[in-house]
């Protein structure tokens, strides 16, 4: 099986935020929730870089480790998903996540958050694939249809890559060799305990 990963080539990202918009539209994500976001570092200064970031679907995911109700699971494609039926909205996964991926709707009284929401790698949730109930809770299940995450699919500069880790790493390596530079695969060391060495 494939080992699904995201890779953001920061030297290509132009901070157009189309990935963010595509994600919101595809999954009908409510207001205040951002499964994906673009962070610009050293904005306006020389050497500025933008990185599109969402859940990286970590190896040995920290969110899953700290969850007090064990609502996370990893699919055979190594996508980290969770059950909104089990989630109690305690917020621990956000504290443990290196990338700030978990999001919580409805900030009620005294820290009562709603069910956590995060990037699903367009792979839905524990419900039956491509059903209405799955869509309502987790959004579209593109992986079940044989498609890759929409954010990466429609990235205008092909900065954001999604797919099997080995394949996207090979694409990235080829790019770096051809153009002669590359600031590395952001977050890979943290998420997968291995950087891409070109």
């Amino acid at each position: 099986m494939a080992r699904m990963k995201f890779l953001c080539d920061a030297d290509r990202c132009i901070e157009c935020n189309a990935c963010v918009t595509a994600c919101k539209n595809e999954h009908d994500v409510p207001w205040g929730i951002n499964r994906r976001r673009v962070v610009t570092i050293n904005d306006g200064k020389p050497g500025e870089r933008s990185v599109s970031m969402a859940c990286m679907h970590c190896t040995d995911a920290p969110c899953a480790a700290v969850c007090p109700v064990d609502c996370f699971y990893t699919t055979t494609d190594a996508v980290v998903l969770h059950s909104k039926d089990l989630c109690i909205g305690c917020g621990y996964c956000f504290y443990a996540c290196p990338f700030g991926a978990p999001q919580y709707p409805r900030t009620g009284n005294f820290g009562s958050r709603g069910k956590m929401d995060k990037c699903t790698f367009c792979a839905g949730g524990p419900e039956a694939d491509s059903t209405e109930v799955e869509y309502a809770k987790y959004g579209a299940n593109r992986l079940a249809e044989g498609k890759l995450p929409l954010c990466a699919e429609m990235c205008s500069t092909k900065s954001l890559l999604a797919g099997d880790g080995e394949i996207i790493a090979a694409i990235y390596k080829e790019r770096v060799t051809q153009r002669g530079y590359g600031s590395g695969a952001w977050g890979w060391q943290t998420a997968y305990q291995e950087p891409i060495t070109v």
Binding site: N34, I41, D43, A65, V66, G89, C90, P98, R179
Partner: protein
């Protein structure tokens, strides 16, 4: 042509070597870039940022300010403590305390009253004090059970009742924890105001601690003098006040997530809260033991508010003397004579 044919079979291998060589050499050689410039010379570098700043911050165009943190490796430390040390600290503290108390019970037994009951009751805790105690106590027990559920629930309870029932219970636990916390916090504040003066250290404390309050004297003859609260009770009081304040402050950080702290502050608050919480549970187990099963007549004090005079004389001799000195002279002059 002849030459090419001869080299034909090894052509692909040769090409592969050239290609591999090219790939290996390319990054080093191409730092200059095709146009002679290096667009990454000044660019931010992930590993460098992590080394220098310990986390990567940037700007986002969405209102959620905390989304500006691109990477925070501190989550790793949070996870290691939360899933590594914390369950051990909690387990050892709670089970260790239960074990110690069981041992204490079998060795020392129940601390009984030495002299027979005097039959005279004196007031030890008034209604306000008892109300405060029981509000705080009830809240604490709910908070302790629901709090321990966050640490041990998935390890102990979930395998027994299954993920769905456990999740439903945990959801209600969380709400209970969030809402009963206010009663606890109020209780801590009122308790501090009511009892702080009687819990300041005094000259009897050193001796009391030296003889262990007589608790370890199997003949039950040692009853060191004590004022309203003995040194042991003072230790409980100060643990409750200091622990309670630590729990309240760290708890308020979590009741209003990200209002007063960023993600690292939240991690710290959760870590302090959980650690102080499990230790407090151990302390309160000891308090509950000595206040009920461990000592004859102790529960009455907080239950009905009155204690037997002889019990008071044994356990709080200095306090009884002061109480009697205050009340007895006033008794003969019962009807106040109005001024003419």
């Amino acid at each position: 042509m002849q030459v090419l044919k001869r080299f034909g079979p090894i052509g692909p291998a040769f090409a592969a070597i050239v290609l591999a060589f090219g790939l290996l050499v390319a990054p080093a050689a191409a730092q200059e870039g095709p146009s002679g410039s290096n667009p990454t010379a000044q660019s931010v570098n992930e590993q460098q940022l992590l080394q220098e700043l310990n986390k990567i911050q940037g700007r986002v165009t969405i209102p959620d300010a905390k989304a500006g943190t691109l990477e925070q490796p501190q989550g790793r430390g949070f996870r290691e403590y939360h899933e590594g040390a914390l369950p051990w600290i909690g387990g050892i503290a709670v089970l260790g305390m239960l074990l110690l108390l069981t041992l204490f019970y079998f060795v020392r037994g129940r601390i009984r009253l030495r002299s027979p009951e005097a039959g005279v009751k004196i007031l030890r805790f008034n209604a306000m004090e008892r109300l405060t105690h029981w509000i705080t106590a009830t809240a604490f027990i709910i908070l302790a059970i629901t709090g321990l559920n966050f640490v041990f629930g998935k390890r102990l309870l979930m395998p027994l009742i299954g993920p769905n029932a456990f999740s439903a219970w945990s959801q209600w636990s969380k709400y209970a924890h969030d809402f009963f916390s206010w009663a606890f916090m109020l209780g801590i504040v009122v308790m501090a105001i009511l009892w702080i003066w009687d819990n300041l250290p005094d000259r009897y404390d050193a001796h009391w601690l030296k003889v262990g309050g007589g608790m370890f004297d199997k003949t039950n003859r040692t009853h060191p003098p004590a004022t309203r609260f003995n040194a042991g009770q003072k230790l409980i009081f100060w643990s409750v006040i200091i622990g309670g304040i630590a729990l309240s402050v760290s708890g308020i950080f979590m009741l209003f997530p990200f209002s007063y702290a960023d993600v690292n502050g939240m991690q710290l608050a959760q870590t302090i809260h959980a650690t102080v919480g499990v230790l407090m549970v151990a302390v309160i187990i000891a308090h509950i033991y000595i206040g009920t099963l461990g000592m004859e007549g102790a529960y009455e004090a907080m239950g009905s508010g009155t204690v037997d005079l002889n019990w008071a004389k044994e356990h709080h001799s200095v306090w009884v003397e002061k109480q009697e000195a205050r009340t007895e002279p006033s008794q003969p002059s019962a009807p106040p004579t109005p001024a003419e």
